[in-house]
Structures are given as structure tokens and as C-alpha cells.
Symmetry: C2
Subunit: 220 residues, 2 copies
Amino acid sequence: MKLYSYWRSSAAYRVRIGLALKGLAHTIEPVHLLAGGGEQHRAAYRELQPQGLVPVLVEEDGGVLFQSLAILEYLEERWPQPPLLPRGARDRAFVRAFALVLACEVHPLNNLRVLRYLAEDLRADEEARTRWIRHWITLGFEACEAMLARHGPEERFVCGDGPTLAEICLVPQMYNARRYGCDLSPYPRLQAADEAARALPAFLAAAPERQADAPVEAGA
Amino acid sequence: MKLYSYWRSSAAYRVRIGLALKGLAHTIEPVHLLAGGGEQHRAAYRELQPQGLVPVLVEEDGGVLFQSLAILEYLEERWPQPPLLPRGARDRAFVRAFALVLACEVHPLNNLRVLRYLAEDLRADEEARTRWIRHWITLGFEACEAMLARHGPEERFVCGDGPTLAEICLVPQMYNARRYGCDLSPYPRLQAADEAARALPAFLAAAPERQADAPVEAGA
């Protein structure tokens, strides 16, 4: 399989983690979102992904998959072991809800094309854009921390004794939050789950700074 | 089951459709998003849904579910018939991707709390906010129309001969687009799927203007 990826894209990071957890062999095809007006806008890439967003997963037979959560559900259905979702229906709904708080209500508000619109159309300066980014991260993290506080017994991972779709969405969002200088001290449970997940080989391999297209200064 | 809903909320509309398609008995508990500073912000509601967003589904035994796509996947797992997703893994990924383009990349950008932030923090006037709303709908609909154009044989529904999670997300987003005066003529395939779905009893029953909390002028 081939994954079209950008080292710092949260959505690509999620799929890199999913592929690594499943142990699925793949190559990475970097798509530079900033170089030359954005490689994601080239016609050949738009043929694969009509939104011009990363990631895209192309299977050996040419099958094309996109939207990170749709790809991850697909991986789960095709290669069930190790699972990315818990077994019980309620727990699965909890994990999916946790993932969706981040994937729907935080990340899409803070991605490159939205920040460009804020700057170009609404004349929001860098300070206003950073405030915007932190605002949506804060609301999302407050909700996720509250979800963990109510979920019952103290656990390091979000649900059960290993990583799920919840950590697959949390870890890239925490990376993003650190990048924009968010105060993470109000979220001890999120920090614990983030740290537990990031210590695992699959999460290490998928980390932005470990990608071939990361600049040297990102630190391998 | 009890669904906390607001007549014009796209996310609540999705779950109303899902419950109606599955034929699951439920009562509707209206949450007025605009009255008295927003009923969704009251402490008792936040106990159910820490984001203060609709919908929430509460089961007979008190189990609480939220995030519309997580609820719909849960309904699908617990009550598989009639299915909300096609059978093949690739088709399922296609339908989920279509749904996520709307549920992640369009709807969260245009909901009430974002529009308030634009008005209050970024001083965007009504014209700028309408331009913003139409911009994200246009990008999403262009992508979805392109997905349908590539998907193969001409069908009325997005995938197969009946509604799926794709129409469950499309119909509320089309409603929203009409509300904000978007030109829908560039999307003949989306219009066909929207019309085919809206003719079905489950979609009719879930429509905003049919809800008990809709104002009289919305037209029952």
C-alpha cells in the first residue's frame, strides 16, 4: 500500500499510527502542503482526493481510500487484529465519540485552509489566528477530559488497557496543541493517555519528526 | 430511548433519520439552542454532553451516547437491519468518507458556536459570515459531487439502491445549504440523492419542519 502523507498533518499522522499498529507494510509518498502553492492542489493529486487534502491510501490493486477515520474503520474491518476499537458496543461508541470530538470539532477548524481563509478573507492577524486555534483545542480537550473523568476507573489509556481510535486521534491533536503553545496542565488524563500511547513502537514510528519528509530541524 | 434534539440542528437531524430508518421507538426532548442563552449550556445538559452540543441519545437503562456519527455506528451495530452501510469494505469506506467530508469538513465550520466566534471575536458581519458558510459548503459539495461522478454507474442514491450514512449526512447539509441560499445547480448528483432520500418516510418524519419544537412559520 502507498500512503500519501505530510509529516505534520494530523490526519495523515492518524493513519500512519493505524497502519503501524496493524503492522501493514506500506510506502510513504510525501505531499508537501506548503511547497510550490501546495502539492495537494495539483491535478494528479486531486484525481485521487477531490478535496486536495491528505492522507490518501492507495491499495495494491489501485483502490483509493481517503478521509482518515474512514480509512481507519476500513483497516479495522479488513485486518481486525490488533483491534483499534474495544469489543462492547457502548465502549465502541464511547471511543468513537472521543475520536470525533477531536476529528470533527477541533481539527477541521484549525487546518491549513481554514487558517488561510481567516488570514486572507477575514484579515485575522497571527495573534488572532493563534487565539482561534487555542480556543477550539481548549473546548475539545475540556470535553475529552470530562469524558475520561466520567468513564469510570482510572486507566492510562482512554478505554481498556491499550490504544484505540481514541489515542490515534488524541496523540496528533496533543502534538498540534504543543506546537501552538497550549497549556496542557488542565488535562492530566489526556496527558497520561498521550504519554502511554507515545511510548509504543507504532506511535513512535508514526511521529512527525520521524518522517522522511520532516525538515532536519524537526529533530529525528 | 430519548433523543435530545433541536429541530434545525444538522447533527440531531442525522440521528432522527437513523432512528426512523431503524424503526426504533423514541421520544424527543427538545433543547432550544437559542432561548435563554442556550439550553445546551445548562449544567444538567452538560452533565450529559460535556461539549454542550446536540444530539444526545439516552437509552432505557440510562446509557448516554453522543456525537452523531458515533450514535449512528452504534445503532448499526446493535440493530443491523435495515443497514445504514453497504456490505463491501470498500463501499463502506466510500460511504463513510462521503459522510465525513460533510460531517468533519463542512458542518463543524458552520455551526452556531463558530458563527458566534466569527461575529464576536473576529468582528465578521453577517455578509462575511454568510460568505464563510457558503464557502465551506461549496468546497464540501464539490468534493462529494466529484466522488459520485467517479463512483461508477448512475444511481440515484450515493451507494446502492437505498439510503446509507451518506444520505443521512447529505440531506441535513442540503437543508442547511438551502437555508443559506447556496446555488445547488452545480451538484446534480447530490440533488438526485437528496430528493430520492427525502421522499422516504423515515426522512420525512425526521425533517426539521416536522418537529414539535419547530416554530409554526417553519411550516409543518
